[in-house]
Each structure stands twice: as C-alpha cells, then as structure tokens.
C-alpha cells in the first residue's frame, strides 16, 4: 500500500479509496482534481506540475495533521501528481474517512483549500499559443 502522503508521476483514485475504506468508518469523502481541457475560455493542451518534493511532502503532512486536529476524522490520504499531465488525467486525490459525514466533508474541503495555498507545487498551463505559470502574476 502506498503512503498516506504521496507524490508521484501517476496517482490512482482506486488505490486511495481502497486504502481508506475500512469497516470501522461509515463515511468517506473523496476529492478528485483532474486536468481540465479549458481554462478561462482557452483550450488547454497539457499541464506541467513542478514540485519541491521534500517540502511538499512535509506541507501535505502538516495539512493531514491539522485536519485530524480540527475535525473528528479517522484517516486522511493526500496523493498529488507531478510532471506532464493531459486533460482528464488526475492532479490530486484527497480522501477522508470519518464516523460522521459532516466531518469528512469539512476536512476534505479544508485539505484541498489549504493544499492550494501552502504546498510547493507549481502548475504550468500549455495553450496553443504559449504557456503560463498559473497564479504567478496578479
């Protein structure tokens, strides 16, 4: 089984769901972020995810720890993809198991919101007429 906090070229939703599903828990919420084929009206050809991996893993672990402190959840798994990704491919999968569903939803949303603010991973979008590092400039 892969680690709860994991960064790789290829990630897999089924791996994550299988790992988090146990008869003790009644509720699992899963967030799946995929590469969109368009953004702000422009066709996206592909993405490139660059990653400062040791720090990204630490920041992802901090999110998992904080989620467990703040919400009544049992387990959380965060997997993020790196490298070249095409529309429809997975970018991130976050799964949260809890006894009660409200905590699972809240923790999962907290985790993806925080990941987008703190984890050192950068997305470059490739269009037909060029490329851009997302969010770099105002």
């Amino acid at each position: 089984m892969k680690a709860s906090i994991y960064i790789a070229e290829t990630i897999n939703t089924t791996d994550v769901i299988t790992a988090i599903s146990k008869p003790e828990y009644g509720a699992v919420d899963v967030f799946i972020g995929t590469v969109r084929n368009h953004t702000q009206g422009k066709k996206v050809i592909k993405l490139f995810f660059e990653c400062y991996e040791p720090m990204a893993l630490l920041e992802m672990q901090k999110i998992a720890d904080e989620a467990k402190e703040r919400f009544a959840i049992q387990e959380i798994i965060i997997h993020h993809a790196t490298g070249e990704k095409y529309p429809g491919e997975l970018a991130v999968v976050i799964a949260v198991a809890a006894h009660r569903r409200k905590a699972a939803f809240e923790a999962c949303e907290f985790a993806i919101d925080t990941l987008k603010q703190t984890v050192p991973i950068w997305k470059k979008e490739f269009f037909e007429d060029g490329s851009v590092w997302v969010a770099a400039h105002p």
């Binding site: 660059e50 400062y52 720090m55 950068w122 969010a135 770099a136 105002p138």
Partner: protein, 79 residues
C-alpha cells in the same frame, strides 16, 4: 561564502537555471530577499515570493546558516 538557492516555477524563468549562487553570504532571509530583488526586479512583480529554509516557510528576520537549504517559492498552484 555563498548561498545556493533552489529555484522553482517562474523563478527559474526569471533567474535562469534551477539554482542560483548568491556569491556572498547573507545574515537574514530579508537581506537575501533584498539582494535578489535588486538583481532580478521581476521577482518583485510576482503575486508573492516566499523563501523556504530547510523545507519550512521562513520570515524575513529569520537568520541564515551556510548549511541551510534555501528555496524560492513563487505563488503555488497545485491541486
């Protein structure tokens, strides 16, 4: 003495390459930041520029050691 700065995302494009050697030593994160803004003014136009020391986000008044692993963290966009 010098610091080796790891570069990521758009800072690679602005500075060129995946590492930057400062040439001299800086006492604090803030001093290093001002040095970089002087040589690469485009860094100041980013939405934000964090500096990580030993895999943790640092403040400008944090002190630097020559053995520290330092990295420039432009606005992140994972997920």
């Amino acid at each position: 003495m010098s610091h080796t700065i790891l570069l990521f995302g758009i800072t690679k494009d602005i500075i060129g390459g995946s590492v930057h050697e400062t040439g001299n030593a800086f006492t604090t994160v803030g001093e290093l930041r001002r040095h970089l803004y002087n040589i690469y003014p485009q860094l100041e136009k980013l939405n934000s520029l964090m500096i990580a020391v030993n895999n943790n986000y640092a403040n400008d008044d944090d002190r630097l050691q020559s053995s520290d692993e330092i990295a420039l963290i432009p606005p992140v966009s994972g997920g």
